[in-house]
Amino acid sequence: MIALTMIARVVDGLPLAASIEEDEQSGRDLQQYQSQAKQLCRKLNTQSPDRCTLEAGDMDFHYLIAQGICYLCLCEASFPKKIAFAYLEDLHNEFYDQYGKKVNTAMRPYSFIEFDTYIQKTKKTYVDSRARRNLGSINTELHDVQRIMVANIEEVLQRGEALSVLDTKASNLSTLSKKYRSDAKYLNTRSAYAKVAAVAVFFITLIIYLRFWWL
């Protein structure tokens, strides 16, 4: 079951098209997944792997990047990966045909929302188990599916965050060390003063002693 499909421009993560999903039966809260998908599209860049599966709880995100466009879908974990990628391929072929040239000039989000109609139709054929069997035989050439990288959505989304955490930690560290340094300096001076004072006291006592007892 494909719950969510989204097409976005990789450069800036601008969503180009998406499919509204029927969450009537599943009753799942897709809200969270939707925002995750949005964030994911923003995180992706040209260096990201072309195909990737991201685990998010009992759902999987599959995405495919081609020609600077990212095709992303959310499926149940049990949904065959092969079919999912075949579906994304299919979307890519059609989408690139129709809108490929206009993608780079798109300004507003969901500029090609009308592609939704095609997405829904395609989705139906891929989800339908009878039709799927036919498709499965066609797409056997997608053999490298097994080599597709698998990662966890949380990791991907938090990769940036981890860095920023590291950054704050490092800056904390440096401020702390600065503080330590000033503290140490202060202690040093204090101990030096103490030593001088002790010596002074000793000599004064000595002088007084000499003054009163020796004379």
Binding site: E22, D23, Q34, R108, Y110, I113, T117, K124
Partner: protein
């Protein structure tokens, strides 16, 4: 306070004038009523009516109040309002006594109050006697006493006995005034007989008490209610009254009174309490402090689900949240986690609020401080900023807004600038710096008190004695008053058609507003069809970081890189992208950007403003196909119309449609692409509705167009033989909800009878015998909350439900309307619709449907209204669901619905000279674009009462009062609402007289800007929604109420007070020349039958219908040239179109009609009204200045108001 002496000559003069225009014709007709009345209508029912009983006792009671009367009128609901209101009034009415005492009562200073009371009492007593006489009259002489009685207002007793049946022109003086009598149908049809006889009976003083009886009680009761601490205040003042006051003395006394007045009013509620008492006086304090979170979360607590009060009622925490979107949303967020259902709501709200945060889904993510306290000092009015800061903030405003300001207005800004040496600091910073501001302001500060009002306002402030001036209407329909702003600001300000404020000069403090006795509020028409609209696409939408205001023409640029928000005064950075101007392709001119040049702009929203991908346009039609519906025959016309407009439905290739029909079962239609013909699926289990098939019921219009067409052509015939009389509307709506909930969209429901099966079934609640009761109207509220709950569910899923009610029977619109009210739908009602018997309704239905199907639509919309800090919005009117304190959730938004809000002033606005309001509407267009339409209105702030009056917008005030009255009649009672409206006039006149006009003028004096106010209020009282005594069906009344709530101002005003023109003698003088057609501009006429003449043709423009009344002696040339008939007799009785003739006269008439229709959403039908057609009653009902069967004429109304005023005065004098 004017003694009857001066007033009466005025009115008698006018009555005499009346007789002149058609004096010759009138007498002939007077025989009509005399013969028909008695036989048709036995007078007993009317004479025995309770109003008389109420009224007469109360008049004497006025001089010695009877406390035991109190419980009678002071019902639970009214307590708040009337106590407050009348305490105010009492205090108020002190004021007039100081300066007025000398004038109106000067004749007898030694014994001031008694004479006036006796004078006033005499008159009613005379009438009473007379009325008793009348009771004893044999039926045939009833008209005699009727005419005599009229003259009792103006003439000495001998004339009263004037036998009116004598057909001499002299005796017919009264006749032209009362049209219904003078133009009866000779046949004496029963309908007509009813009218005239009722009129003759009710024209006795017994009518007046219907209106004035109740206030009298309330004045009495409010006396004991006045609190002890206040009365000492009176005590101090009173001595100075009784002594003959000199002007000087009077003025000092006045100031002391005003102090009392002000002090006590801060605790009291002012006009806010009119509609409902919502915000406790303590609320103002709590929302400032950091502890405001609780106060808002109260609002979003479980009540959110039930939401019984939400639709109209404001929000308990209303306060200043309007300017503090994110803060409010942050406060809401915690409580929202308690329920899944609310999650969506609050998220969306944050989307709107937290625009530039990265896809925030929780309220706390917005980066904005939760509280105003954390803003920079000096911008915050009640934290007493240092003088320097105050100048910084006041000065640029004064500078920007008022380069060449009139002295009186400067007072607000001037003291600040003078007090600080640093005022030049910003003077140089921005473009308009070179004004010699300080000098000007010093000058004005010196002159401020003396120089009086600016020239512009002289006209608006001219006191108008309504009893003497009869020609109040302007020659052309009234335009919105222009706010007193500098030319620059005026040029960019929001169009009054979109955004209108009741007071175009905002009073500085609540005390001043209270003193003005006018409601403060906005009327909005946010999604209006616009001819040109700048659409802006940019990556960042520039908004204030603290209050989320969109950048607008009224912000101040401190320098190139910073701008100051005009609502919360926060200084924000100008983002880099904003430095580039795409229009001029230049860099470094942020103030030339279109956002800053236009008060109405539309932004293409970024994906931050989307919670989900934009939904497709989805339309579901839910059609009643029971026997009743088939009888009425609407289905055929609906299908025809939809077929015709199928391609014009707004949408793109994703547009989805679905159909659902119901009688006692629910029928779905499978329109899946690839089927050879539509499949009908019947679900008979209406107790537990399920959707038989998930993806084939709502189908893509483009792909299944043939099937849809098939269905539409076969649908009318499919049910033609049905015998099923039941209607399961509730289950059908539940099915519609389930069908649409995944996408959202629009559900159009066509219903023809009372729902009788399943959930949401209704019983008939109307008692036809009570239709004309003047006692009060029951059942204005819903009978069940089923429809409301369903509507709230729909609203949550972005489904808007529009209701078309076509019925001949009572259908309990009060309950059914809830489905549309809370889901932001629209309601259409066609009483006694029948495709053969009622062609007029059929035509209207077809016209409306065409507009409805093709008009623009916005989906999944939210609207937020923000206003300058210090102002707060507390009540909303219209169809919507209030999701949080200031966020209106609109599942659908259509270009024909309007909204109104009421505001109060929480903090003094002294530190700025301008107040701004911004309405932002975020919606998804039918093409799947998410857009934000932003309107900004800027108005001056004034500190003089006279300026407030000068800027009052009488139409807006009337419309807002109408909305408030509707709320009140539902929450309390109709009579309360009517009293409140009358009191609004009384209050205005009293307060104007006491505080502004220093003329020692007697009579009913109001400022010129408000001169039409009493007329409009009278017209309101005669509307279907608010009238009493006239037979009005409950459904029609409720529908009229719904219209009041949602119609835009211009439309509403035309409905309340239609425009009347004379067409047969139109000249080209002042004609408009539009693309080589000449549009003549005839003068506007008063809505009184004295203005009609038998030899003319008159056009009445009632907004959604035109009446063309043809006088009996209308010249044949007009009839021939315009109507294409030979003479008067050959005009067909039900003519409803103007033929396209080639004559110049016809062309001009049609050009004029087209011009009137031009900017109207729904095309109006035209009815040619002859004297003997039934449409005549509709036409004459609209003549609001005439006396009608149950309501007084304009002159009577004015006299009533005046009596009311002087009563207040005299009572206070005796106190």
């Amino acid at each position: 306070m004017s003694a009857p002496g001066p007033a009466n000559p005025g009115s008698s003069i006018s009555y005499n004038q009346n007789s002149t225009p058609n004096g010759g014709a009138a007498p002939a007709y007077q025989n009509g009523p005399a013969q028909t009345n008695p036989s048709v209508y036995p007078p007993t029912g009317y004479y025995g009516a309770p109003p008389l009983q109420q009224s007469y006792p109360t008049i004497p009671a006025h001089s010695n109040p009877v406390p035991s009367k109190a419980p009678l009128t002071n019902s639970g609901h009214s307590v708040n309002y009337y106590q407050n209101n009348h305490q105010q009034q009492q205090q108020h009415h002190h004021l007039p006594q100081h300066h007025v005492a000398a004038s109106s009562y000067s004749a007898s200073p030694s014994q001031p109050p008694p004479p006036s009371i006796t004078q006033y009492n005499q008159q009613p007593f005379q009438q009473q006697q007379q009325q008793q006489q009348q009771q004893q009259h044999p039926p045939y002489t009833t008209p005699g006493s009727y005419y005599g009685q009229q003259q009792s207002y103006q003439a000495p007793p001998p004339q009263q006995q004037h036998p009116s049946l004598v057909p001499a022109p002299a005796s017919g003086t009264g006749a032209p005034i009362y049209p219904i009598v003078s133009y009866p149908s000779p046949q004496g049809s029963s309908q007509y007989g009813t009218l005239s006889s009722m009129q003759s009976t009710t024209s006795t003083p017994g009518v007046m008490p219907v209106q004035m009886g109740a206030p009298l009680h309330q004045y009495n009761t409010s006396q004991p209610a006045s609190t002890p601490p206040v009365q000492p205040g009176y005590g101090v003042v009173l001595p100075s009254q009784t002594a003959p006051t000199v002007n000087g003395q009077g003025s000092t006394a006045q100031t002391t009174v005003q102090q009392h007045y002000d002090q006590s009013h801060q605790a009291l509620q002012s006009y806010d309490s009119y509609g409902r008492v919502i915000h406790s006086s303590g609320g103002a304090d709590t929302e400032r402090t950091p502890s405001r979170t609780p106060s808002t979360s109260v609002h979003s607590s479980p009540g959110h689900h039930k939401g019984m009060q939400y639709g109209y009622v404001a929000n308990s925490g209303a306060s200043s949240a309007a300017t503090s979107g994110p803060a409010a949303s942050a406060a809401v967020a915690p409580s929202s986690s308690s329920s899944d259902e609310d999650d969506d709501d609050d998220d969306e709200e944050d989307e709107e609020a937290g625009g530039d945060t990265s896809s925030s889904t929780t309220g706390s993510a917005s980066p904005v401080p939760n509280n105003y306290d954390s803003l920079e000092g000096g911008n915050y009015p009640d934290s007493m900023p240092p003088a320097n800061d105050m100048t910084n903030q006041a000065q640029p405003y004064g500078n920007y807004g008022y380069p060449s300001m009139q002295p009186a207005y400067l007072q607000g800004a001037a003291p600040h600038t003078d007090s600080s040496p640093a005022h030049d600091l910003y003077g140089q910073s921005y473009q308009q710096s070179s004004q010699p501001f300080p000098n000007m302001s010093q000058l004005s500060a010196a002159l401020g008190g003396l120089s009086g009002v600016p020239e512009l306002e002289v006209e608006a402030l001219r006191p108008v004695n309504l009893l003497q001036e009869r020609n109040l209407l302007p020659p052309r329909p009234l335009e919105a008053p222009e706010p007193n702003l500098s030319a620059d600001l005026k040029k960019v300000n929001c169009s009054p058609h979109t955004f209108r404020c009741t007071l175009t000069s905002i009073p500085q403090t609540q005390a001043l507003l209270n003193k003005a006795r006018l409601p403060l509020g906005l009327l909005l028409h946010p999604f209006r069809d616009l001819e040109q609209l700048p659409v802006i696409t940019s990556n960042t939408i520039v908004r204030c970081r603290s209050c989320r205001t969109y950048i607008n023409p009224f912000v101040t640029f401190l320098d190139q890189r910073r701008w100051k928000c005009n609502l919360c005064y926060r200084v924000n950075d100008v983002p880099d992208e904003f430095m580039y101007n795409p229009v001029t392709r230049s860099y470094g001119e942020p103030h030339k950007r279109p956002e800053v040049q236009n008060a109405t702009v539309e932004f293409i929203a970024s994906s931050d403003y989307m919670l989900r991908p934009p939904q497709p346009a989805a339309y579901l039609f839910v059609l009643d196909v029971s026997h009743n519906a088939v009888e009425a025959g609407y289905l055929k016309y609906f299908c025809e119309s939809l077929l015709k407009n199928l391609d014009k439905l707004p949408g793109d290739t994703r547009t989805r449609v679905g159909f659902l029909t119901f009688d006692s079962t629910i029928h779905f239609y499978n329109l899946q692409e690839g089927l050879s013909q539509p499949q009908m699926l019947v679900v008979s289990d209406i107790d537990d509705v399920f959707i038989p098939s998930h993806d084939s019921l709502m189908v893509n219009l483009k792909e299944s167009k043939e099937l849809v067409k098939d269905l539409l052509t076969s649908l009318p015939a499919m049910f033609s033989q049905t015998r099923e009389t039941h209607s399961a509307l509730g289950p059908a709506l539940q099915a519609a909800f389930k069908l649409m909930s995944s996408t959202g969209g629009r559900v159009s429901v066509f219903q023809t009878q009372l729902p009788t099966l399943g959930a949401g079934l209704l019983q008939s609640r109307e008692d036809p015998n009570q239709r004309s009761s003047s006692k009060g109207v029951q059942h204005l509220g819903p009978a069940t909350d089923f429809y409301k709950k369903l509507a709230l569910d729909c609203s949550g899923q972005q489904i808007g439900v529009d209701l078309f009610l076509l019925s001949s029977q009572y259908t309990d619109l009060a309950s059914l309307a809830c489905i549309s009210k809370y889901s932001a739908g629209s309601i259409f009602y066609y009483p006694s619709f029948h495709y053969i018997h009622n062609p007029a309704q059929l035509e209207k239905f077809q016209n409306d449907l065409e507009r409805y199907l093709t008009r623009k639509i916005g989906f999944e919309a939210v609207m937020r209204i923000r206003c300058t800090k210090g102002l707060s919005i507390h009540t909303f009117h219209g169809n919507f669901f209030v999701r949080s304190t200031d966020l209106l959730s609109l599942a659908n938004v259509n270009p024909d619905s309007a909204f109104a809000v009421q505001m109060s002033i929480e903090d003094s606005l002294a530190d700025s000279s301008l107040a701004c309001f911004q309405a932002a509407l975020l919606y998804t267009s039918s093409k799947g674009k998410r857009r934000i339409r932003v309107h900004t209105l800027c108005l001056p702030v004034v500190n003089q009462l006279s300026d407030v009056y000068a800027g009052a917008d009488v139409q807006a005030v009337t419309c807002l009062l109408a909305n408030m009255a509707i709320d009140r009649s539902i929450s309390s009672s109709l009579s309360d609402a009517r009293d409140a409206l009358v009191n609004a006039v009384v209050d205005l006149a009293t307060s104007y007289k006491s505080s502004v006009s220093n003329l020692q003028q007697s009579g009913l004096v109001v400022p010129s800007s408000m001169r039409l106010f009493p007329l409009y209020i009278l017209a309101l009282l005669k509307q279907k929604a608010l009238r009493t005594g006239t037979s009005t069906r409950l459904d029609e009344r409720v529908f009229a109420m719904c219209e009041f709530k949602t119609q835009p101002l211009q439309q509403l005003m035309r409905m309340v007070h239609p425009d009347l023109y004379r067409l047969d003698n139109m000249s080209d003088q002042g004609a408009l020349h539009l693309n080589d057609t000449v549009v003549p501009q005839p003068h506007l006429l008063h809505l009184a039958s004295e203005r009609l003449s038998r030899d003319g043709a008159f056009l009445m423009d009632c907004g959604n219908v035109f009446y063309l009344w043809i006088g009996k002696n209308c010249n044949d040339m007009f009839i021939r040239d315009v109507l294409g008939c030979n003479n008067y007799a050959s005009i067909p009785p039900n003519m409803s179109h103007i033929p396209e003739l080639e004559t110049p006269l016809s062309e001009r008439v049609r050009a004029f009609l087209d011009w009137l229709q031009d900017n109207r959403a729904f095309s109006s039908t035209i009815h040619i009204v002859k004297d003997n057609t039934s449409a005549k009653t509709n036409f004459f009902q609209q003549l609001v200045e005439d006396r009608s069967e149950s309501a007084s004429s304009y002159q009577e109304f004015l006299q009533h108001v005046q009596r009311q005023i002087s009563k207040d005065l005299t009572r206070e004098q005796t106190d």
